[in-house]
Symmetry: C2
Subunit: 390 residues, 2 copies
């Protein structure tokens, strides 16, 4: 190995409690909440090298590193973030935050509502991308960070990064928006709605108050995850990985089929069932509803007559956008819309369209061109820190 | 109107009972079965002008015309088939057959198993495209039709048309295969599996024996239909029809949102829920499992080392294939594979790739180029009948 070897990055979960109510976009408020977060690297003396990393649907604040003594505990973006990695924690102070309403440590539907003393369940207020960004900003205040060197995210995380540049334009020097979109298409909302209906109509959902029944709407969560998984992959990569392979072909049969409508016949079925089962063991059903709704609702151009260029006029950051050719959930076309709207405002934009076969999932996978694009961009961000160049 | 006016075509449901057991591809048999069918037009003296029309997932033998005195009872392909229409019932004797295992009159899971005296339910044997074609052939025997002028179908119906040319090559002069594929991709199987899991895991499914519990697994059927609907449409047409329109925007709110995870917010949600509800009222859950499995299993090249050209060597028919540019469930690429495999065998093939925005659904919709292609093709089929040219 010629690459520099780094000791493993050890992650330490932290949390911050907030007693001041957070006013939400819906008009509701949430009070007495906690944000779970992690930080990696060191904040410099000027407090200028902080990078906030925002998570997507089923991820968390644990973006990088491993937990001491826990095997297979890598953060969800550990290939991207760490010592010597594209977002280099030797140079940047990286912060991961679990969003409000999620189920990995920040206050969410499975916690107790301070007004009622009962678990929130379906009564947890609807939170939006904008609300998450405001909560993240309050956390940064408490950490003494007035301006981010960069905010970064993929998919729904990319929407948060984008929203930072709109809600707090002076607090963000750079935004890295990967595999994202300025809003969801009807088809995307439709897939979210299928997932939500599967959960809500599961008899074990109990109107969102399943916790006190000691059940979990696992049937619904499984279906939701199966639908999700299909849309995160490309048709091509599914054909390459699974094709029409049978899981356990019947020997001596002309076709190998078992001729069953309920048993697993094809490998792809086995894979999806496994993913669904696994997900239903750890993910909260109300969180799934909340997070898919946040996706549906995000639409910064809506207040500007659907004119994205007008919406982006208040941005001040510089941008890197990345998309993947086979991503049909957040297609390159959606990234190009954002690039165009930023260029219309004479913003400094870099854009990379990566020819990758993996569909939307590509943003989480190793691809040397993708990694190099992000690495180069953060080298530039770092140079600007050092040199003070604008 | 300059077009010729024709009196409405009146359809008459018929049925044929078969006492001889039908041996199925799985090795099981089905006995004492009935096929529901309809015919339109007149069989000529030479019995040479018959056209069999095969149906897809949720359709039936009622392909054209209306039922006497019943408003809105048009057959599912009534825009294509009838007097003066592309498949002209003034020239052809058209036959629609409901497939075994379906729920519109032919023997299916909701009927009584003659061996046990109990409703089949989940014990209805798994049927394949090949089984359906064999049953259709027996019906044609009884109707005294030894050779079809043409067999025609779209989607799963196209698979049956194709299979006719492989199973009974001497009995088919022409095959019209619309929006179809030589097998399903992994992604297609995956969507079918999501639908099946939604049905099977609905507590009201009762292992497929819900009839005796006087319930219907409607939750599962709704989810299945919603998933199906999304995949039948193109992203573009969904954006055009629904976009991000709210069903009932809150007046005086900046966003118009109600901020609810369970209520309908967007028009697309309302549309999908409506389609799901409607479907769950009339479609049989076991039929849905059977028909999606028939789709999964169809793969005529599997017995030829996945070599489609080798599989097609035994065809004798002439072909018209049609695909639609925005159909991502049965994409043009899949039709081109079939065209190439037929050309490899020096077969007579016409192919039209129609630039239509509607996705897979396009095969059921009016599009003048599509209709004209089919019309021209059937004019040729008709001339061959008259002239006796090969």
């Amino acid at each position: 190995m010629t690459a520099t070897q780094h000791p493993p990055l050890i992650a330490q979960p932290q949390s911050m409690h907030f007693e001041q109510p957070l006013r939400l976009q819906s008009g509701a408020s949430i009070r007495d909440y906690t944000l779970a977060f992690e930080t990696y690297g060191t904040l410099n003396a000027q407090r200028s090298n902080a990078v906030l990393v925002c998570h997507a649907l089923n991820a968390s604040h644990h973006v990088a590193g491993v937990y001491e003594g826990q095997a297979n505990s890598e953060g969800w973006w550990d290939n991207m973030i760490g010592p010597g990695k594209p977002l280099d924690t030797n140079q940047f102070f990286v912060i991961g935050v679990n969003n409000l309403g999620s189920c990995f440590g920040s206050t969410g539907p499975m916690h107790v509502h301070p007004d009622t003393g009962r678990v929130y369940g379906a009564d947890f207020p609807v939170v939006t991308v904008e609300d998450w960004v405001n909560a993240q900003a309050l956390l940064l205040d408490r950490l003494g960070i007035s301006q981010l060197a960069a905010v970064m995210g993929g998919s729904l995380g990319g929407m948060q990064a984008l929203s930072w540049t709109l809600q707090h334009p002076e607090r963000v020097k750079h935004a890295v928006v990967v595999a994202s979109a300025p809003n969801l298409t009807a088809e995307n909302i439709a897939f979210n709605e299928v997932a939500r209906r599967a959960i809500v109509t599961d008899p074990d959902f109990h109107g969102g108050h399943f916790y006190q029944h000691n059940v979990v709407p696992k049937r619904g969560l499984r279906i939701a995850r199966m639908v999700g998984h299909i849309t995160y992959l490309s048709d091509d990569v599914m054909n390459e990985k699974f094709g029409r392979q049978l899981r356990d072909a019947v020997v001596g049969s002309a076709t190998g089929y078992r001729y069953s409508t309920q048993d697993v016949e094809f490998q792809i079925e086995s894979y999806l069932r496994y993913q669904g089962d696994k997900f239903s063991e750890y993910f909260d059903a109300n969180t799934y509803l909340l997070i898919t709704r946040a996706l549906d609702y995000f639409d910064p151009a809506a207040g500007f007559g659907d004119n994205l260029s007008a919406a982006f006029a208040r941005t001040r950051a510089k941008f890197l956008l990345v998309s993947f050719t086979t991503d049909w959930r957040f297609s390159p076309q959606r990234s190009r819309e954002m690039v165009q709207a930023l260029l219309d405002n004479q913003r400094d934009v870099s854009y990379a369209e990566i020819d990758a076969p993996h569909g939307h999932d590509a943003f989480l996978l190793d691809d040397s061109r993708y990694m190099n694009v992000v690495r180069s961009y953060f080298e530039r961000v770092h140079q600007e820190l050092d040199g003070g160049a604008a």
